[in-house]
Each structure stands twice: as structure tokens, then as C-alpha cells.
């Protein structure tokens, strides 16, 4: 009985070590294969959105007024969002502002609601209702609930849908180029 037990234990160790070694020596991802975290794609989309949305002229009194992107809720990609900080969109410097649940959304031009805020979706949308704030989120059903741009995962890729009714009510104009690429556009 003891013998069988011992050999079992050694067998296991051999397998574990081999498996670990195999994984380390497995071919590294080829350079041409794009292999990225979802957050990195989200951030790139947000930057692109900032270029295809027109805010009311009163929103930006001068050219050096910053375009504030508020990251609302808990995210584990805070550092990745900071890569947007040095960039400019429509001639305005982009500023990334982390906001915790319950923080005011004053001064935000874009609000990206993290998935952690799913339960608070309705009051969150109410807080920015009819104000010139572009709302973006990965929360399921975001666009149907009155959000403006919602991410949808399809076939391992990140796509988006747009609610133009909400955007227009807030005084925002979304360019036709962006609308054309949406998988679904919600209109009245």
C-alpha cells in the first residue's frame, strides 16, 4: 500500500515539474499575433471616441481647457489609463481622472463606468442626465438603460453599440463615421 502511495507521489512531482518546464519553454507568442488585455483596447477606443464626438461649444471655453476622462469605479488598470494623460484630442489636452463610487461627476467630459458599478447604473445615468457628458461602459445592457456607448464582446473582439437618443438629449453629436462602425445603433 505504502509503495503504491510513494510511486504516486513521485509520479505527480515528475508531471508537475515537466508541465511547468514545458510552459516556460513553450514558444513565445509571435510578434505579429496581437495579444492584449481588454483594458488596453478599451483605453484605445476611449481615445478614439474623444475624437469623433462633438461637445457643445460652451463646454470648452479655450483651447487649453482639458478634456477630462473620468474613470468611475474600481478598476485594476489604473496605470494603463494614465497612458492617455499626455495625449491631446480635438486640440485639447486629455486628462484622466479616477473617481470613486459616489464622487461627483462635475468637470467630466467622458465618464467611463467600470463594471463594478453595474448595480448603480440607473442613479449613475441619472446623475449625468442631459448634461454634455459622453457615457461609456462595458456593463451589460448599458445602452438599453440609457448609456451612450456600450462595449459588447463578440468573437473574442471588442465591439460597441451606440444610443444616439441619449447622446442627442445631452447635446452631443456623434460622427457618422463612428455610427457606421457600431454593431447596433439605438434610435427613437
Amino acid at each position: 500500500m505504502r509503495d503504491r502511495f510513494e510511486s504516486g507521489r513521485h509520479g505527480i512531482r515528475r508531471i508537475l515539474v515537466t508541465a511547468l518546464a514545458l510552459m516556460c519553454t513553450a514558444p513565445a507568442p509571435r510578434a505579429d499575433v496581437r495579444d492584449v488585455r481588454e483594458a488596453e483596447v478599451v483605453i484605445a477606443y476611449l481615445y478614439n471616441f474623444s475624437k469623433f464626438v462633438t461637445w457643445p461649444t460652451t463646454t470648452f471655453p479655450s483651447a487649453d481647457t482639458s478634456l477630462n476622462l473620468c474613470v468611475y469605479g474600481r478598476t485594476s488598470s489604473a496605470d494603463a489609463f494614465k497612458t492617455l494623460d499626455a495625449k491631446s484630442a480635438q486640440g485639447h489636452p486629455v486628462r484622466v481622472e479616477p473617481r470613486s463610487r459616489g464622487d461627483t461627476l462635475h468637470g467630466c467630459h467622458i465618464v467611463y463606468a467600470s463594471e463594478s458599478e453595474q448595480a448603480y447604473l440607473t442613479p449613475l445615468l441619472r446623475a449625468v442626465d442631459r448634461r454634455p457628458v459622453l457615457t461609456v461602459s462595458e456593463i451589460p445592457g448599458f445602452v438599453a438603460a440609457g448609456g451612450m456607448i456600450g462595449f459588447v464582446r463578440a468573437d473574442n473582439r471588442l465591439r460597441f453599440e451606440i444610443n444616439t437618443t441619449s447622446a442627442e438629449a445631452a447635446g452631443l453629436t456623434i460622427s457618422s463615421q463612428l455610427l457606421r462602425l457600431a454593431i447596433h445603433v439605438l434610435r427613437d
Partner: protein, 688 residues
């Protein structure tokens, strides 16, 4: 001596593994800047899901493992317990064709009682014995969103019975299961597999689905190759409705209905059947039930939400030695609110009412045969952000009142440190209790070990009975846990959990407490009553390791390994004085390695290799060591082809390495060995 030597060896090999895990990042890489890409290019970027899953868990200060819908499908598992074999630290034994033992961190067995199992928030452990009748907990596997498995105490949030773990089966919202799905198949062991589901959109914000499913499963075999006569079938149907109201409130209403007939082979004590005093019973049992659950969620403000959940669960089970009916009503209120800048507070109140009725037999009696009891609880937990996005402290406690042991307090403290975006470290200390079950307080079970004692006057037949005790108290656990998680690249995630569990007041049977029930002499035998008590105590320690590695876009490997050591001290006069068996009901080591390969988008080639160390039955019969279940390796293979996107044909081979292998004993009265056979089945899945 032998034990100490091997312990040291184990430690050495653990150190090596820890070093390997810590120095892991062979393929570490900084974040990519994609902001130069155009929108059109972004639409084409593939995102990996390994990182997404790991990220969702990175915030949890507990040993959590999540099984996704896709993993269930690609595992070839046809039931929830079979799918749970992939979770590190969970032991699954198929005891006969229709019985499973599922345990976390020890104490496995048919009557294993330290796990809390929830289906969409509905508690499914049986108040009769605090364990789970897994064969009665069926779900439409295709509609499962995920199964969250928490090893270690979850009592503060989840409540009684969440001692060694919580298994949370979460189904998809109705909006995610629209259209028609038909699954049909069959094979050698899985004789008939059939399921159909229809999802509809009733209004822009209201979705619904209904399903029906049927499974017929073949019997296992005895070691001599005879039919185990334990085949069974189950028919189940159900529905779910989700709606978002104009004010933003979310409502869910769902229910299930099932009926099952099962075969089982029993060996029961019979004082009038010398010389073995054992009678074999070929039993046909039936089980049925239904449940309804309603849930209402409302956001009060940007920082506060409330939810109210109500469910009713009816279940019946009639077998040779007992019949039982349980009706449970459960109401739970919960509020989450943010206080100040750094406190996230959750508190709640709950009530559960249990109404039962038993049909007793000469083997098992319950007194009173019907009972009505209630359980009240209140809990509060505060998540404190000590350093924004870096350091989080969780403090909480649950106070519960039950009719058997009064107030029970179950606190926990947890700390999570996000070392970097790719790594987090957590630790926890918690206390949990397992409150007595109905039979532990008022049941009596006759054991299958009648002894014939020669006295000068005549031969006396001694019939031992284990009896519940009015003063049987809750079993208690203090757990110390430590964990580390890392995602060094989007293709790789690793998770390590270490624990030390300190148990007190464990259930024991002390033969020195035996009382002879002289009145029974008139029946021709003498009953010796053995009351249960809380004299067991002890420690366990171990580790669990999980690794997900996406080798290529079309190839994923998932490794799970666990190690467990348990040392329980029981009274000298206990049934198991050497403590070999109690401590070894779960295997010391387990390994699961899954490979999911899709060489073409329409083709899956999946393999699942498992190793399970030797273990013992949780029931003592014969000499210690008689009931050892040998270690085994097993392999499942699955091949699937999708000629069209909504049509999948698959063939699954299960337990391919042996004709048959034993995993456990069905325990009470189930003293026969049964072995799980090699099986093959085919499946067609059509969506339209």
C-alpha cells in the same frame, strides 16, 4: 516515524514549487499602447479572456476559482459534481451511479456536511443531515453562466454551513439565453441526454426562458463485474424571467420542478439473519421537488443599493430506510452603501423557516417525526480602502440564531494587497460553525454490525445504534489563509492558496458512552445506543495551486493541484481510535490537467487528465484499512466539430484509462463497492 520523514520530503518539494511559482514570469510584458490604432483596426484586435477572468478575481481576498460555461462544455461533464473535479482543493467521489461526495479541504463522504451550496442564491443543502443530495441538484448546464467555488470559510457573508467552502452556481440572465437550443445524445454510461430551452423577449426590458431536460444514466459495476443495479433517471423543467422596470429596479423570478427515480443496493442489519446478520436490499427510491425564487434589486443612490430575495423550496425523498419531506422558506434583505471616502459597507438580515416530516423505519427513526424550526441572522461587513487601489481591509461578522444551539457568531478579517497591476497578495482569519442537523439532534440509525455474544445462559445479539443528542453542539472552525495571484502576461495566470484550519467540537461517537436499551430484549436482541458528542478536535493544512496558460490563441492549458494533511484527535474509546480513517476521507494529493485545443475554428480537441491519491471511506466497517480506496489516474477526451456556427457534434470518452475504478463508498448501508466504468457518449447541439 515514516510519516515525519515523508512530511519533510513533501516540504522540500513544496519549497521547490513555491520558488518556481514566485519566479514565474517567463513571458512578462508591459502594457501595450494601442491608441495609435484607428477605430477600424481596433475592431479587429483580439482580446484574451485569461486575463479578464484573472482580473475579476484579483480583487477577492479569498481562495476563489471560477468555472465558466465554456469550460463546462469542453470538459464533457454532464452534471455539476463532475465539473467540480477541475477545481483545485475540491474532492469529488462518485459513490454509486447516483451519489456523489463533494468536499473542500477534507471531511468528504456521502454525508459530508461542511459545504454551502447555492443555486442562484438558493441554499440547497439538506437540513436533514447538513449535506447535499447532489443527484437532486440538477441544472441546465448550457444556461450556467459560471460556478464560483470559494474554498475556506465564507460564513460571514453566506452563513451557516459555509465552513470549508461555498459553491455558488450562477445561471445566465434570460437576456443571454434567447432563441431555441436543443441538445440530444447518448452513450454507454450516459444512456440518454436530452435538453431543450426556449428564450423569448416579452418587452424591450423583459426577457424570459423555459427549459426541460432529461438524463438517464447506467449503473456502475461491482468489483466482480456484476451490474450495480443503481441506474437512475431525472426529468426536470424550469423557467426564469428578468425585467428592468422604468425606475431602474431589476426583478428576477425563477423556478424549477423535478422528478427522479433511482436504484440503490443496501446492506442492512438483520438480527434474525445469522450468521452474518446482514440482509441485502434492492431498493428503488424516488425523489421529487420544486422551488420558486424571486429577487428584487434597487439602487437607492449612486452609492447605495438594496436587494430582497425570497425563495421557497419543497423536496421529498422516499427510500427503504426512511422517507423525508422538507419545506424551506427563506427571506433575505441586503444593503450595500458607501460611507465616507473609503468604507464600502454591506449589511443584511435573513430568516429561514424549515418544516419537515419523516417516515421512519426499524433502521432509522426521528423523534419527533415532524418539526418546524427557524433560523435568524444578521450580518455586517465593511470593506475599507486603506490605500486607494492598493490595500484593502475587510472586517465582518455574522450573528445567527438557530433553535438548536442558540446564537452563533462568525467573524472574519481579510487583507488584500495589490502588489502591482499583475499581482495581489491576501490573507484572512475567520471563524465558522456548522450547526447541528436534524438527525444529529433527534435521529437514531441502526448500524450494520450486529454482534453475537455468547453468555453462560444463551447467545445475546447486540445491535448498535448511533443516536442524536439533545446537547450536540455546533462544530467550530478557525481558519488561517494566505494567497497569492499573478497574471504576469495576458496569457498566463497563477493562483496559490495556503491554509491552516483549526477544528473544535467535531462530531464523534464514543463507545464508552454506550447505553444498553434493556426493553429491546423482548424483541430477541439488545440495542446498544451510542450517542454522538463533540469530542473531536484537530488541524488540517494544505495548499491549492491553479494555473491557466494560453499557449497559443487556439490552445489553453489549465492545471490544478492540491495537497491536504488532516490530523484529528478523537476520544480513546471512539470507533476509530487510531484516527486513520477520519483523517483520510480525502486524498492527500490531487491533480487535474486540462488541455483545450482548437486547431481550426470549427474543431475542438480537448483532454482532461486527473490524478487522485488514495483515501478512505468516511464510514467505519470491518478492520481499519479494509475500506481503502486506491489512488487512480483517469483521462477524458472530447472531440467536437461545428459544421455550421450553430450546430455542434461532439463525442466524449470518459474515464478512458481503466475498465472501471472505485472512487468511494456510498456510506450508510451502502457497504458494497462500486466502480465507475469507462464511458463514451455522443452529443448534438443545435441553436436556432
Amino acid at each position: 516515524m515514516m510519516g515525519m520523514q515523508s512530511d519533510r520530503r513533501i516540504h522540500k518539494h513544496w519549497t521547490a514549487l513555491l520558488v518556481l511559482a514566485a519566479t514565474w514570469p517567463c513571458t512578462s510584458r508591459a502594457a501595450t499602447d494601442l491608441t495609435d490604432l484607428s477605430l477600424e483596426d481596433l475592431l479587429d484586435v483580439k482580446v484574451t479572456s485569461v486575463g479578464k477572468k484573472a482580473q475579476a478575481l484579483a480583487d477577492a481576498a479569498a481562495a476563489v476559482y471560477v468555472i465558466g460555461n465554456d469550460e463546462i462544455r469542453r470538459s464533457g461533464a454532464t452534471s455539476v459534481p463532475e465539473a467540480l473535479r477541475m477545481v483545485p482543493g475540491i474532492t469529488v467521489k462518485r459513490l454509486d451511479a447516483n451519489k456523489w461526495s463533494v468536499s473542500a479541504r477534507g471531511f468528504g463522504g456521502r454525508l459530508s456536511n461542511k459545504l454551502l451550496v447555492l443555486i442562484d442564491g438558493r441554499t440547497v443543502y439538506s437540513p436533514t443531515f447538513s449535506g447535499v443530495y447532489w443527484e437532486q441538484q440538477d441544472v441546465m448546464l448550457e444556461d450556467i453562466d459560471r460556478i464560483e467555488v470559494i474554498r475556506g470559510p465564507g460564513a460571514t457573508l453566506w452563513g451557516a454551513n459555509a465552513v470549508n467552502g461555498v459553491i455558488n452556481i450562477i445561471s445566465k440572465p434570460a437576456a443571454a439565453t434567447q432563441g431555441t437550443l436543443v441538445v440530444a445524445g447518448g452513450g454507454t454510461e450516459e444512456r440518454v441526454i436530452g435538453a431543450a430551452r426556449q428564450g423569448v423577449q416579452l418587452s424591450p426590458e423583459t426577457f424570459a426562458r423555459a427549459y426541460v431536460k432529461y438524463n438517464d444514466r447506467d449503473s456502475l459495476v461491482t468489483p466482480s463485474g456484476l451490474d450495480g443495479r443503481d441506474s437512475w433517471d431525472i426529468m426536470q423543467g424550469g423557467f426564469r424571467l428578468d425585467s428592468r422596470l422604468a425606475g431602474g429596479d431589476r426583478l428576477t423570478f425563477q423556478g424549477d420542478l423535478y422528478r427522479s427515480s433511482l436504484g440503490q443496493q443496501l446492506l442492512v442489519p438483520d438480527p434474525f439473519a445469522p450468521p452474518s446478520f446482514v440482509a441485502a436490499v434492492d431498493d428503488d427510491l424516488s425523489a421529487s421537488g420544486w422551488n420558486l425564487l424571486g429577487r428584487w434589486d434597487r439602487a437607492l443612490s449612486l452609492t447605495s443599493d438594496i436587494s430582497l430575495k425570497l425563495f421557497y423550496d419543497h423536496s421529498e425523498r422516499h427510500e427503504y430506510y426512511a422517507g423525508q419531506r422538507n419545506d424551506i422558506v427563506d427571506l433575505e434583505f441586503q444593503q450595500r452603501t458607501r460611507l465616507g471616502d473609503s468604507h464600502d459597507l454591506v449589511w443584511g438580515l435573513g430568516y429561514r423557516g424549515i418544516d419537515d416530516r419523516f417516515e421512519i423505519s426499524r433502521l432509522i427513526t426521528v423523534d419527533p417525526i415532524a418539526e418546524n424550526r427557524s433560523l435568524w441572522n444578521a450580518f455586517v461587513q465593511d470593506d475599507i480602502e486603506l490605500l486607494r487601489d492598493r490595500l484593502r481591509l475587510t472586517l465582518g461578522t455574522k450573528v445567527e440564531h438557530n433553535d438548536y444551539t442558540g446564537f452563533e457568531i462568525q467573524p472574519n478579517i481579510r487583507l488584500l494587497w495589490k502588489v502591482s497591476e499583475q499581482a495581489s497578495l491576501w490573507g484572512a482569519v475567520s471563524r465558522a460553525v456548522r450547526t447541528p442537523s436534524r438527525v444529529e439532534r433527534s435521529g437514531t440509525s441502526t448500524l450494520t454490525s450486529v454482534q453475537s455474544i455468547s453468555t453462560p445462559l444463551s447467545t445475546l445479539l447486540l445491535v448498535p445504534e448511533v443516536t442524536g443528542a439533545e446537547d450536540f453542539d455546533a462544530e467550530a472552525l478557525t481558519a488561517y489563509e494566505l494567497g497569492f495571484r499573478t497574471t504576469p502576461s495576458p496569457r498566463l495566470s497563477a493562483d496559490l492558496a495556503l491554509f491552516v484550519n483549526d477544528y473544535d467540537s467535531l462530531r464523534t461517537v464514543d463507545t464508552s458512552d454506550a447505553e444498553l436499551v434493556w426493553e429491546t430484549l423482548s424483541n430477541g436482541y439488545l440495542v446498544s445506543a451510542l450517542p454522538i458528542s463533540n469530542q473531536g478536535r484537530g488541524q488540517s493544512y494544505g495548499l491549492e495551486f491553479a494555473l491557466d496558460y494560453r499557449v497559443r490563441d487556439d490552445w489553453t492549458l489549465a492545471l490544478a493541484y492540491s495537497y491536504l494533511e488532516l490530523d484529528i484527535q478523537v476520544p480513546k474509546n471512539g470507533q476509530d481510535p487510531e484516527n486513520d480513517i477520519l483523517a483520510r476521507t480525502d486524498p492527500r494529493q490531487q491533480l487535474s490537467l486540462r488541455s483545450q485545443l482548437s486547431p481550426r475554428p470549427d474543431l475542438d480537441i480537448d483532454a482532461w487528465l486527473r490524478y487522485v491519491d488514495q483515501s478512505d471511506s468516511s464510514f467505519v466497517f470491518g478492520a481499519p484499512g479494509d475500506s481503502v480506496i486506491p489512488s487512480y489516474w483517469e483521462l477524458d477526451l472530447r472531440l467536437a466539430w461545428r459544421p455550421r456556427p450553430k450546430l455542434e457534434l461532439s463525442i466524449v470518452g470518459q474515464n478512458l484509462l481503466h475498465d472501471s475504478h472505485q472512487e468511494g463508498y456510498q456510506d450508510i448501508y451502502g457497504l458494497t463497492q462500486f466502480a465507475v466504468q469507462r464511458g463514451v457518449y455522443g452529443l448534438i447541439r443545435i441553436a436556432f
